[in-house]
C-alpha cells in the first residue's frame, strides 16, 4: 500500500532519558529501504523507548534520526507521520470508543487526496477481511488479533514508507502472530515498505527479518544476520530467551 516504496532510516547515537533514567544510551542502527529490521531484547532494554523517540512521542536528549536522509529527531509525532513514518504503538493504540471504520479513516485524515484516502481505506479492508465484516462495530468489541489488524490497518491507510511496529505479537495466539508476521513480510516484499519491528518474541521476529539488532540497557549489544543471531547460544540465553 505505500505508494512510492520505502525510505531508509538511519539512527545515530540516539540518547533518550525520562528524568534521570536513561532509556537509550547512544543507539545507532541502519534500516535500508525496503527491509525489515527486528529489534530484540528483554523488558526495559529500551525497545519501546527507541520507537517512541523515532516517532516523536518522546524528544531525544541528543543524536540524530535520518528519514530518507532528512533529519527528523525532535519533530512532533504528526509531522513524522506526514513525512512518511507511521508508528503502531504497543498495546494496539486503537481508539476503543470509535468504530472500526472511524479508526481506519483516522489514519488518513491528514491526507489531502480524498480519492486516494478512499482507495487506501478499501485496500486496508481487503487486507484484513475480519475488519471488513465489522466496519460499524466499536473497536472495544474486537478481539486482540482484530485490534492488532485495526492498528496496523490504520497505520497503512496513511500510506507510510517506514513502519514502526511495537510488539505486534503481544497477547496474541502463536497462529495469529505468525499470520501478522507473514503479512508484514509480504508488504515489505510487494511494496518495498521499510519496517522496524520491535519484539519480545524473538523467534518469530527473526523468522521474517532481514536484519536483527539486540538491545540491552539502552545500548546495541549485537547487530547481525537473523540466522547468526539465532545461532549464537550466548546471545540467546542472555537476551532472547529461547
Amino acid at each position: 500500500m505505500p505508494d512510492a516504496g520505502g525510505m531508509s532510516l538511519e539512527v545515530k547515537d540516539l540518547v533518550t532519558s525520562y528524568g534521570a533514567i536513561k532509556a537509550l544510551r547512544g543507539v545507532s542502527l541502519n534500516v535500508p529501504a525496503g527491509s525489515i529490521t527486528a529489534v530484540l531484547g528483554a523488558n526495559g532494554a529500551g525497545k519501546s523507548s527507541l520507537l517512541r523517540t523515532l516517532s516523536g512521542l518522546v524528544r531525544p536528549r541528543s543524536g540524530s534520526v535520518l528519514l530518507d536522509g532528512k533529519e527528523i529527531a525532535g519533530r512532533a509525532p504528526e509531522d513524522v507521520v506526514q513525512m512518511g513514518m507511521s508508528h503502531v504503538p504497543e498495546g494496539r493504540g486503537v481508539i476503543a470508543e470509535l468504530t472500526v471504520d472511524d479508526n481506519l479513516r483516522l489514519g488518513g485524515l491528514w491526507r489531502k487526496d480524498k480519492a486516494d484516502r478512499g482507495r487506501a481505506l478499501e485496500e486496508a479492508y481487503a487486507l484484513f477481511p475480519p475488519l471488513d465484516q465489522r466496519r460499524k462495530r466499536l473497536a472495544m468489541t474486537l478481539s486482540g488479533g482484530e485490534r492488532q489488524m485495526l492498528a496496523l490497518g490504520r497505520a497503512l491507510v496513511a500510506r507510510p514508507r517506514v513502519l514502526l511496529l511495537d510488539e505486534p505479537s503481544l497477547g496474541l495466539a502463536p497462529r495469529i502472530t505468525s499470520q501478522i508476521m507473514a503479512l508484514v513480510r509480504r508488504l515489505c516484499d510487494e511494496t518495498g515498505l521499510t519496517v522496524l519491528l520491535v519484539e519480545q518474541n524473538a523467534r518469530s521476529a527473526l523468522s521474517v527479518a532481514d536484519h536483527g539488532v539486540v538491545l540491552n540497557l539502552g545500548t546495541v549489544v549485537a547487530s547481525d544476520d537473523p540466522a547468526k543471531l539465532a545461532a549464537d547460544d550466548n546471545l540467546r540465553h542472555a537476551y532472547l530467551g529461547f
Binding site: 504528526e78 481508539i95 495469529i176
Partner: protein, 361 residues
C-alpha cells in the same frame, strides 16, 4: 440530527442532502407552530432559538472534542455587545451582516481563549474558562463609556418587514430570525460532525496519543473546536441581544455559562438533537416551575428559588435515569422498542481464528 432515520439510499445517500431535508421539514413545522401561538409563546420560542445555537456549539466542544467550557456565557456576551455596538451606529448594516460580524468577532476571541485552553486539561480548563466567565462582565464597568456600565447598551432592531402586514407580531418575527439561525447552525454543525474534521475532534477527545500518531495535530484541532464553538456562542449572543433589545452584563453571568453547559449535558453531550432538547428545557423549565410555584402560593423567597430547585432536581434525575442525557434516553427507548438493547455492544462472535489474507501467488 441523527434521530430521524431517513433511508441512506437514493438521494439520501449524501449526508448534506439528509441534513438539509431534516432542516427544511423542521423549518416548515416551526413556521406553522410559530404562526399558531400567541406572542408570549413566540417570544419563548425565540429564546429557544438562540439557546439551541449556544448549546449546540458547546456540545460540539465538550461532547465531540472533550474540552469543557464554563466560559460560554462570556463568549455570548462578546457576540451581544458586538451586535449592540454595530446596531448603535447611524446606518447599521442588515441584520444578517450584523450576525455574521458577531460570529467573526467571537470566533477571534474564541481562538485566543482556545489557544490557552489547548494547553489545559480537565479541572484546569474548567477553572480557566470559569475565570473568563467571571472576569469579562467586569470589563463593562471598567470601560463604562463604551459599554454602558451595569446598565449595558440598548439594541435597536428594525421591525418586521412591511410585506408581512402591519400588525405582524414582532415576537414572531424574532422567533423566525433565531429559528432560522438555529437551523443553519445545526445543518452546518451536523455536516462538520460527520466530516473528517468531526472525526479528528472525536479522535482527539478519546485518545490524544493515538490521534497524533495518526498524523493529527492535537493542539490545532482543539483550538479549531474552540473557534467553532465560540462562533456559535457569538451568534447566540447576537441573537439574544436582538431578542431582548439590550446587552447588559447581568444577562451574561456565570449562571448563563452553567445553564448552557447544563443544557448540553441534559440533552446528551455530543448530540445535536440533544442540544435542541436541552435548549427547550432551558426555556421551559423556569416557566413551568414558576407557574407551579404561583399555583401553590409559596412565599416570595421560595417562589424566586423554585426554578433553581426544579432545575437541579431534574438534572439529578436525568443523570440517574439516562446518564447519556435525554437523547441517550430516546436512543435507548427506540432500541427497546426495536427489541434490542443498545446498552450492550453488538454481539461479539468469539473469534478464535482470524484469517489475514493469504499471500497471493
Amino acid at each position: 440530527m441523527a434521530t430521524l432515520a431517513l433511508p441512506r439510499r437514493g438521494p439520501f445517500a449524501s449526508t448534506i442532502v439528509r441534513h438539509l431535508t431534516v432542516a427544511v421539514v423542521g423549518g416548515l413545522v416551526l413556521l406553522l407552530l410559530t404562526s399558531s401561538v400567541n406572542a408570549y409563546r413566540d417570544f419563548q420560542i425565540a429564546n429557544v432559538g438562540y439557546y439551541v445555537v449556544a448549546v449546540a456549539g458547546l456540545t460540539v466542544l465538550t461532547g465531540l472534542n472533550g474540552q469543557i467550557s464554563l466560559g460560554h456565557g462570556a463568549l455570548m456576551m462578546v457576540g451581544a455587545y458586538t451586535a449592540a455596538l454595530i446596531l448603535d451606529r447611524d446606518n447599521p448594516p442588515p441584520l444578517v451582516v450584523v450576525l455574521v460580524l458577531c460570529v467573526v468577532v467571537t470566533a477571534v476571541v474564541g481562538a485566543i481563549v482556545g489557544a490557552a485552553a489547548a494547553r489545559l486539561r480537565g479541572p484546569y480548563l474548567a477553572g480557566a474558562t470559569l475565570a473568563f466567565a467571571v472576569g469579562l462582565p467586569g470589563l463593562t464597568s471598567h470601560y463604562a463609556g463604551t459599554f454602558g456600565g451595569d446598565n449595558g447598551l440598548s439594541v435597536f432592531t428594525s421591525p418586521p418587514p412591511a410585506s408581512l402586514g402591519v400588525d405582524f407580531p414582532s415576537e414572531r418575527w424574532q422567533a423566525w430570525i433565531t429559528l432560522a439561525a438555529a437551523l443553519v447552525t445545526l445543518v452546518l454543525l451536523a455536516n462538520l460532525a460527520s466530516s473528517r474534521v468531526g472525526r479528528s475532534f472525536r479522535a482527539v477527545r478519546d485518545d490524544e496519543v493515538s490521534a497524533e500518531l495518526a498524523g493529527i495535530h492535537v493542539a490545532r484541532t482543539q483550538v479549531l473546536a474552540f473557534v467553532v464553538s465560540a462562533a456559535c456562542a457569538g451568534l447566540a449572543g447576537g441573537l439574544l441581544a436582538v431578542v431582548s433589545g439590550q446587552a447588559t452584563p447581568g444577562a451574561f453571568s456565570v449562571a448563563l455559562s452553567l445553564a448552557i453547559l447544563a443544557g448540553a449535558v441534559l440533552g446528551g453531550l455530543g448530540s445535536l438533537a440533544g442540544a435542541v432538547y436541552g435548549a427547550v428545557a432551558l426555556v421551559a423549565l423556569p416557566a413551568i416551575s414558576s407557574n407551579a410555584s404561583e399555583r401553590f402560593d409559596f412565599g416570595t423567597d421560595v417562589k424566586s428559588n423554585m426554578p433553581l430547585l426544579v432545575y437541579g432536581a431534574l438534572l439529578v434525575i436525568v443523570m440517574l435515569v439516562a446518564p447519556q442525557g435525554l437523547q441517550g434516553g430516546v436512543r435507548r427507548l427506540a432500541g427497546l422498542l426495536r427489541g434490542r438493547s443498545p446498552a450492550q455492544p453488538a454481539r461479539n462472535e468469539s473469534v478464535t481464528e482470524v484469517s489475514v489474507t493469504e499471500p497471493e501467488g
